[in-house]
Symmetry: D2
Subunit: 448 residues, 4 copies
Amino acid sequence: MVDAIITPNGDLDILSKSEIASLQNSSESVYQELFRNCALAVLSTGADSDDGHELLAKHADFEVDILSAARGVKLAVRNAPKNAFVGGKIIAGIRNHLFAVLRDIVFLQDQVEIWHQNGESITEMVFKTLRHAKALKPRRRPNLIVCWGGHSINKIEYDYSKEVGYRLGLRGLDICTGCGIGAMKGPMKGAAIAHAKQRVGDARYIGITEPGIIASEAPNAVVNELIIMPDIEKRLEAFVRLGHGIVVFPGGAGTAEEILYILGVLLNEKNKHISLPLIFTGPKESKAYFEQMDKFIGDTIGADAQQLYKIIIDDPIEVAKSMCKSMKKVYKNRRALDDAFFYNWSLTIEEPFQQAFDPTHQNMAALNLRKDQEPATLAADLRRAFSGIVAGNVKPNGIQAIREHGVYKLDGDASLMSSLDALLASFVEQRRMKLSGNYTPCYELVSH
Amino acid sequence: MVDAIITPNGDLDILSKSEIASLQNSSESVYQELFRNCALAVLSTGADSDDGHELLAKHADFEVDILSAARGVKLAVRNAPKNAFVGGKIIAGIRNHLFAVLRDIVFLQDQVEIWHQNGESITEMVFKTLRHAKALKPRRRPNLIVCWGGHSINKIEYDYSKEVGYRLGLRGLDICTGCGIGAMKGPMKGAAIAHAKQRVGDARYIGITEPGIIASEAPNAVVNELIIMPDIEKRLEAFVRLGHGIVVFPGGAGTAEEILYILGVLLNEKNKHISLPLIFTGPKESKAYFEQMDKFIGDTIGADAQQLYKIIIDDPIEVAKSMCKSMKKVYKNRRALDDAFFYNWSLTIEEPFQQAFDPTHQNMAALNLRKDQEPATLAADLRRAFSGIVAGNVKPNGIQAIREHGVYKLDGDASLMSSLDALLASFVEQRRMKLSGNYTPCYELVSH
Amino acid sequence: MVDAIITPNGDLDILSKSEIASLQNSSESVYQELFRNCALAVLSTGADSDDGHELLAKHADFEVDILSAARGVKLAVRNAPKNAFVGGKIIAGIRNHLFAVLRDIVFLQDQVEIWHQNGESITEMVFKTLRHAKALKPRRRPNLIVCWGGHSINKIEYDYSKEVGYRLGLRGLDICTGCGIGAMKGPMKGAAIAHAKQRVGDARYIGITEPGIIASEAPNAVVNELIIMPDIEKRLEAFVRLGHGIVVFPGGAGTAEEILYILGVLLNEKNKHISLPLIFTGPKESKAYFEQMDKFIGDTIGADAQQLYKIIIDDPIEVAKSMCKSMKKVYKNRRALDDAFFYNWSLTIEEPFQQAFDPTHQNMAALNLRKDQEPATLAADLRRAFSGIVAGNVKPNGIQAIREHGVYKLDGDASLMSSLDALLASFVEQRRMKLSGNYTPCYELVSH
Amino acid sequence: MVDAIITPNGDLDILSKSEIASLQNSSESVYQELFRNCALAVLSTGADSDDGHELLAKHADFEVDILSAARGVKLAVRNAPKNAFVGGKIIAGIRNHLFAVLRDIVFLQDQVEIWHQNGESITEMVFKTLRHAKALKPRRRPNLIVCWGGHSINKIEYDYSKEVGYRLGLRGLDICTGCGIGAMKGPMKGAAIAHAKQRVGDARYIGITEPGIIASEAPNAVVNELIIMPDIEKRLEAFVRLGHGIVVFPGGAGTAEEILYILGVLLNEKNKHISLPLIFTGPKESKAYFEQMDKFIGDTIGADAQQLYKIIIDDPIEVAKSMCKSMKKVYKNRRALDDAFFYNWSLTIEEPFQQAFDPTHQNMAALNLRKDQEPATLAADLRRAFSGIVAGNVKPNGIQAIREHGVYKLDGDASLMSSLDALLASFVEQRRMKLSGNYTPCYELVSH
């Protein structure tokens, strides 16, 4: 364990006196624990676990304090994981992540309150959060590929995701993922190798996370821009406003959540004219996975949704070529809509996809999982269902809730419940729910 | 006259939709005229006049509009002064100034309102305004010399100020002035030549102005960082918090205002431990000027104040060497106080020097210009008196007020009024009040 | 196979007309084949073979031409390996390597002739070749670690070399190797990951090769500075003049050659005062390897030589810490000797280590492999013996010679031959001689 | 006077041991005096004199030595002019010039010898000298305007040349001149102001000089790239191969030499297809000057030559607009000829314009100044005549020769001599020959 004083090398060294005081106050109050836990997650980069609860338990004596300094802030850590340090000095990338946590968790809070008071839209708030993180880069052509997929994937799938990243990187495309391991790391790692070969000096490996998940999905070592959005809904919005194309690899409940989110959004009539290429891909061994996912989508939110993506099996080069070609379409689309390249303002995202969903047992039980409604509305509630399952599986709060109140009860019509059951069962069978150990479902499906 | 659409190349191209809308709204309302006038002043850079009123009158048909664009804002100007353009394209430096006006006048307004609501101190607000203008640069050693002095100085004094700037520049010092011509331009020009010889690539020529004065003191061509503070008091605070040393050249009422400001601040017991070198200098032909100024200071705010500056006559190299040496002291002083190099937090500035003074006839008449008070308090009111005289001389509002209500009446004890009379009379005689034409005083001194 | 026109993006685009003409002439004459073969090797980066002969045979129809252009040269390739291209465009890193070949093989030739005429020392020529390749960087502190070791090592050893590279990289150290795979690639790859974590933007992965070996050891994908020295002796000199420390991993005959070279040089009395840290290291599974090597050294060139290196088994962090610490000693040593950091002028290298050794059957047979001579002299001839064996194993010319004239005969005293036999036998047994297939020795030891 | 050790900050710190030794040797032998005198000239930057002889005499005790250092060279100066130093440190720009002298005078010598041995063309040698000085910049569009004109011009002409430079600079054009004061400084100074306004960060102010003239025309303070060509003919070639357009201001014999050079070259039939815009310009007060020059050209080398330039009187904006427009033509012309932008290979320059002319009394007397020959041939000898007069006026060697052997005798047919007489007489009358004092002609015209 290491005790150290850590100095930022970026913008946080130009804070006003009251901002520093407010950081210190904040960190002593409501955000204290949040900040501490996120900081711990970041300092644990490289640990091979997805059990946030366990991580927090293991480092119960970890502490972090914000030190005031006229020239900015410093952080004092005690009992920090020693892997984050070399020769007593923190690894530069981890230091950057640590201050990204400070920036996004503590510093933004007052700001967010002001935004709320001003009645700003969530889309505005997402924009400002990303701008504050310097993630909005003007004068760059569309080239950011969001890669979604499970943290718990097998070696063949991981290698495949790496190969896809490699092929994307060779074509100069940047990568954005959810920050963690598995399909979130593979594409970044592959792209990093390709970018090195292509001598790309300013490649971006953006990891977007949120406080609830960061402890279970600590940023992998390739991430060079870490952004912590306030919750999962803002995180999903950040993905689709920032990215120019989306590739989905195999995954479990979290990936299903992401798929239902983007399909729900794209089903919106107002988004018909928006170019946002979406590809599902995996090695030939994962063919069945996507067949099942495709069937589930057809069975639940319908055939229209199935038109919104392309499935490419076992062909990384084709995925990369297709994305590369689509980037030109996205470029023209943004120009035609007079939209920015760095933020997809034109995309309409309705309230049900923006508002935070708190997966209490009550809220989970209240989800309307019936086919007799608009596909987009159903997609919204299905998305929430999967979101709750992710929480129950890996998020510290969710795990705690399950421990206290038993499994979630999900309630819907028979046909939909049957589709859902099949999908979830396959996730369990394919070990996509959890990295290690036998998986005990955190949910129970009820139909009537 | 030129009509043109002007695109920024800096940060203003990452604005949110609501920010752009708010810019447009703001610019259509209360800030519209302010923005238009400041924009006109900036586009008139290089004009040889200090009569803001005249400038505005001459360009009555000038218009500027803020255009919305997803990728940021653009400005549309109509009937703009043609000297600001080459081959139909705006000169890059002037474009930057134009967007500095947009940034400081329009964009900051909402922000300022929020600050007010939060009850932030003026010092905090000055800090945030400067940070927003990217004027706070971390990791640079103290090297910024504030140069004060008149816009209406003679050729010998101008050449002297240029030579001082040259000698400062040779020693790697940067320059900050009030933006306009005369003693505000000379030191920058001299330093620019020296910096070129020394191959200094990132030299700073900071011009700090305020909306009331910008029309009469348009930024000279050397200024490469333009900052528009909300009013004269914030501008003065910006000078002393940003700068590391101050050189005062001969000048008129405005220079007297600056001198009384800094002396009033430094007389404060709490500032005894602050290093802030202050030099009065001019060519040998201006020796009498500084003798009289020194006498005026001694006669009014006393001998203690006279200890706060050094007078160097006709020796630019000595001025530069002295400042260069003092920079090491400032460096040590900031370190000892654990203060930032880029913002002098440690300096205490009391309310009378921070609050905006509106030079109405009533306020001017109410000033307490008597010796039977604390020197610092007297300095504060004397500062206000000179501030009002500057307004009456060159600021559009002040000129208007004088036209409507006649000259200001200044009221005080006989001894002080006599000193003041002598000083002002010499300013008039030496043609320091106004660039051209015969000067008609905008004030009347009354003692009893 | 791909046909393409390739444009440089570096300095070769400022060539004079006669230089371009001379490039074209050269490339049509004596250097034509050399250039073609090296170009082919570079374009084959990533191929999994060490059989240069086979590579050349497989691409018999590959062609490369130098095109004249007023603004510089271009290269036209026909039937080039398609892996070097993405979407019809050559991968940027490979393009750089290709022009490094042009620079070092063709462009330098006339220069070298001039140097010869001027009677310049080999050390001068090595210096100029490195400078021409822009490999001499002033104003950087000692931090370049040369990593030697076999191309044909097992997975455990490879992973170990990668881990050592990772630990060196975390400490900001750069890597220089012989360019190929195995122990030449592992340390670079590990360091690249560490440098990314430490946000090192200008890390160096220098690959130094020579025309005879490049076909069998094509530069790996991490190399970002490729240098082709005229022959193996100049290559070895480039390593030790450029590098600030040396780490040796397990390897075969080539590694033995490198070890004997550096020990032979360091045994020189004149080099007693030179700091050049030398570490032999490998995983615990390779412990026996270094024991045997250490014994061989003791048995042949003696106990003094054994004092020149440190053996560290199974401790990458210790290797990195030790090198990191030694860099400070090297720094002080260079300062004390008033030597440059970028080129170790102070090191004395005697003629036997500088002059090119042509491993003809006759020259091999003539080597003096007897203990009754100076250790350094014996080291020189032992180095030559291993050099010949490498040629016979993997270099196109050597393979050809063995095919024509049978195996080399090496002749020496019984004791030394017995040591040599043991060492070589172990190389064969441990499959260090050749990547694939059964190894047929290219030598025969004779003692009398 | 100052004694100092001066360290380079550029490439000269990567010299080989033998190069450093050779520099030291060279500097102790034949180049010693040349180097010393040029170094002195550079250190005298800013002195207001054109009398090289006087300068050298005044600083008879100035010394410069080359110090060996493993990491490069250093220079030790003794009794150096103190204006070149601030606080004991040399001004950065002057330091760069000093090492440019070292680079061009001493370092290139051996190189030049090699080039001679290889029988390289003068055009090749000029190319290599410019490349070695890093003056050939690839990937920049044509924008370099060569400005010729006298060092001894009046205030009105100087201000005019500054205004032209300003207008060129506003349009993004760079300036190249002969390095000294007057018309060589004005355009640079004007352009520097404009470039600052346009925020051009990498503007070039190239000064090309030669050892014979540098002492009388020390580089002005704006020059940021100093190049010392071996002699006047190479200097003239460097101007026309490097520049993309030429502006000629009023001047004396040197300017006449330049005009005859460029006209002689452009008269060549082989250059008919080359775009090289040529403008003569001056204030309205200088109208007569250009009328006379135009008449002289018409009377001597004929009407064809008069078609090669445009005369623009009193219109700096028109000059700049015209050059700006021509740059597009030059761009197309180079593209059409497949020529480099950074070096005008396509221009044919015949031997008489390339070979060094030594203005001995004998050579001057032998010039063929008769109209009964080809205009280009006559232009070549007229050029030589003016070149000799310049030498006699201001170059140390020339002044010495005149002192020893009396004035030059120039011999030609009556008509031409009469034209020449009129031109030279006007130069004398207008005080264009020499900065100060009464001018005593160094020539006598003889016709028969």
